[in-house]
């Protein structure tokens, strides 16, 4: 089902355009109007979902029946919709790149009814994925060199969101995921230890640890906080020594309490027990701020399991994105609603050296200095170009992470890289403002 995965008003508008022959080329621009609190950048993501959707968009018979029988669309509209596929052009910033407010993540140019119908799905895919990728990137920044693992599958907004969170966190440098189906689908490292229930299902903690170590000697990570954390670490060390496990295969996971103090205590116990290579993993409601505090305090934590707060982007589960008509049939278009004004015309973003502002320009103007961020990803409905694999996105993110100035990387009160408008864009804006119909006409 693709055709009905949209808002009713898109179908109403599309049908109205089709009736009137308003099928001239329209360009819609998808961008974030502003950044959520504490965000200094956004990590673009969700493009692959968009391209998949656009490539297979159509109304199937069942969908057309619904429109006929329940929504009472007349035959003329249904015939037009039955023939509608997406055969437009798409420019987009590839996944893994960082962008700032007003910079298009994606622009669609297509006959007006087509471009209109894609709004709901494109906004959904890009907003969700970009929000989660950005949140995960912030965890990455907070963790310094420590390893990060996605633990979010139990709290994402459904199963498909669990796949997305695993993929998006891998895109920004997470080392693995607890979600086995995601590991299988995306070729990620599956990571897993034990739960409290495992410890409790045995007569005591020692028996549980011993059983687990016998079964998984290659990765014996013991959850040590079921009863008493320092005692649990000591039991883990004792079991590891009894079974002569190599220290580098041994670990403890701390899932509650004061993780700074407990990690130091655990490190000391493991070292004293002759297990200096044993690793310490921390989990339990962590976000970038908690990780940053632990990193700053020098807590000896080797690996963080990050779940809920990353998987739902807890403090910013959505973004202030918009999909706005910027040109129709060669005429620049803008909107001046209070707080929601838009800039006219198809655009391109040019990026300079670290410390330089981005330049937001018209797509067709002579390129200023800098690297253009939007590339053509679909041409007449066909995908073009490559570089859309997870590995490509990961590489781009690493590049952009190194490019981002410290002020934009700050986890609190960051300063995004400024976005300067080109002279031609400013000129078009002024001209378009003057040509807007007077209020009420």
């Amino acid at each position: 089902m693709t055709g009905l995965h949209t808002d009713l008003y898109e179908i109403r508008m599309a049908a109205s355009y089709l009736r009137r022959g308003m099928t001239g080329p329209a360009t819609f621009s998808l961008f974030a109007r502003s950044l959520p609190r504490d965000r200094g950048f956004l990590v673009c993501a969700g493009l692959t979902d968009c391209l998949d959707f656009l490539a297979r968009f159509h109304f199937d018979d069942e969908e057309l029946d619904y429109l006929r029988e329940e929504l009472r669309l007349p035959d003329g509209d249904l015939d037009a919709l039955a023939n509608l596929v997406f055969d437009g052009d798409v420019w987009a910033v590839p996944e893994g790149s960082v962008v700032f407010p007003d910079e298009p993540l994606l622009e669609v140019t297509a006959p007006l009814p087509q471009a209109q119908l894609m709004e709901t799905a494109l906004l959904n895919f890009l907003t969700f994925s970009t929000a989660v990728a950005t949140k995960a990137a912030r965890c990455r920044i907070a963790a310094g060199g420590a390893e990060l693992v996605d633990f979010s599958a139990r709290r994402t907004h459904g199963v498909n969101a669990a796949f997305a969170a695993a993929r998006l966190s891998a895109m920004v440098g997470f080392a693995g995921t607890s979600h086995v189906a995601s590991a299988a689908r995306f070729g990620l490292r599956a990571v897993g230890t034990m739960a409290h229930s495992y410890v409790q299902a045995f007569a005591n903690e020692r028996e549980a640890f011993r059983a687990f170590a016998e079964d998984y000697p290659e990765a014996a990570v013991f959850l040590v906080d079921t009863y008493d954390t320092p005692a649990g670490v000591l039991t883990a060390a004792d079991v590891a020594k009894t079974l002569a496990l190599p220290g580098e295969r041994v670990g403890v996971r701390l899932d509650s309490g004061d993780l700074d103090a407990l990690s130091r205590a655990a490190r000391k116990i493991l070292d004293d027990e002759g297990l200096p290579d044993a690793r310490i993993m921390a989990s339990g409601g962590l976000d970038e701020h908690a990780i940053a505090r632990l990193t700053a305090a020098g807590a000896p934590i080797d690996s963080y399991g990050v779940g809920t707060k990353m998987g739902v982007s807890a403090d910013a589960p959505s973004l202030d994105t918009a999909y706005k008509l910027v040109e129709y049939a060669g005429r620049p278009v803008m909107k001046r609603s209070p707080g929601k004004a838009t800039l006219p015309g198809p655009k391109q973003v040019y990026r300079g050296e670290p410390g330089e502002p981005d330049v937001l320009a018209l797509r067709t103007e002579p390129p200023p200095e800098g690297r253009p961020l939007l590339t053509r990803v679909m041409w007449a409905g066909e995908r073009v170009g490559n570089g859309h694999e997870l590995f490509d996105a990961r590489t781009r993110f690493e590049h952009d992470l190194a490019w981002l100035p410290e002020a934009a990387l700050r986890l609190r009160d960051p300063e995004p890289v400024p976005v300067r408008r080109s002279a031609r864009l400013e000129d078009l804006l002024a001209r378009t403002l003057r040509t807007l119909p007077p209020p009420g006409e």
Copy 2:
């Protein structure tokens, strides 16, 4: 794919249990440890997804291949997993009911490996759906008698979450959804007007309004804030009169600015223009608090479009839920991790008259006064009972909404209904605490 939709540790633990013959009956209890800020209750939801998942749970060949080749599970484990289906019992609070912290939303009793493997999926389904249903219920409470419509499809965490948000908001009294696919799937009213792009695609607002009214005279709701709201309302009224549309088929949608002031201005213009039956719809970043302010101010708004903030449960996109072993092979089990302690034993919740506390009791103890909330929904792996249709859940929600005391309904600083523990539960807790292995053993 069902078997791999879980965390790796569940598979590791299950395999370990199977190797050791630890297949005695285990009961896991799924509950919220606490309520998010400003929540006075939770609306249970997500059970239908859980039952669908449990009923079809298995490892298919592709999944077993992955476990063999990538995760190196030995043949003995694979044979055991290949034969594993869910044949346990499930008790649950049906969808649409309200619950409070520590009250189980669902309890699974099954052989330990089965019950363990279900954790990730059950937590995901119930946490997400309950969070969104609760958020939508708060919008319902805020709106008084005004109509609510789900506008969230563009911001939910993926397509499937859009279906869920439409269904869950309908469960708590929303009148319709903008998401056509959800309307089709769940038999909901599809609602849609026009976007700014429609207005902008025409030479001016009047032409756009006229075209829309000609095409949709039965539901001519005009978006009036593209250029200037009061002027837009006047144009809408003028077009409606010119085309002699019946006033009750006409409406205006306000999507930006001071919605209280603009709705009063719009009402006056519509009344002055002889359209007292024309309706006013408001949208644009609304949540329960914004709606409550408008309701309290007496803004003349007939219908609210509620999108992002409901669809992602913006201020609480997840819940502090847990799935905890409470009994294994007849032995009560609990956990005393700091801040994460659990109560032993399978449970039942009994509900009294308005103003009375709920009673959290053992499932097997002689029933105290009150109505039991958990019902058996699966028996030996087969669904039992009925009342799982959307209509049933909607009816239950209306009942519980009427039952909730004012203190629990407050949108800020509410007081949840107290949950009293039965004497037998307190007794079991005390006895189980004494039998916990001493720390470190």
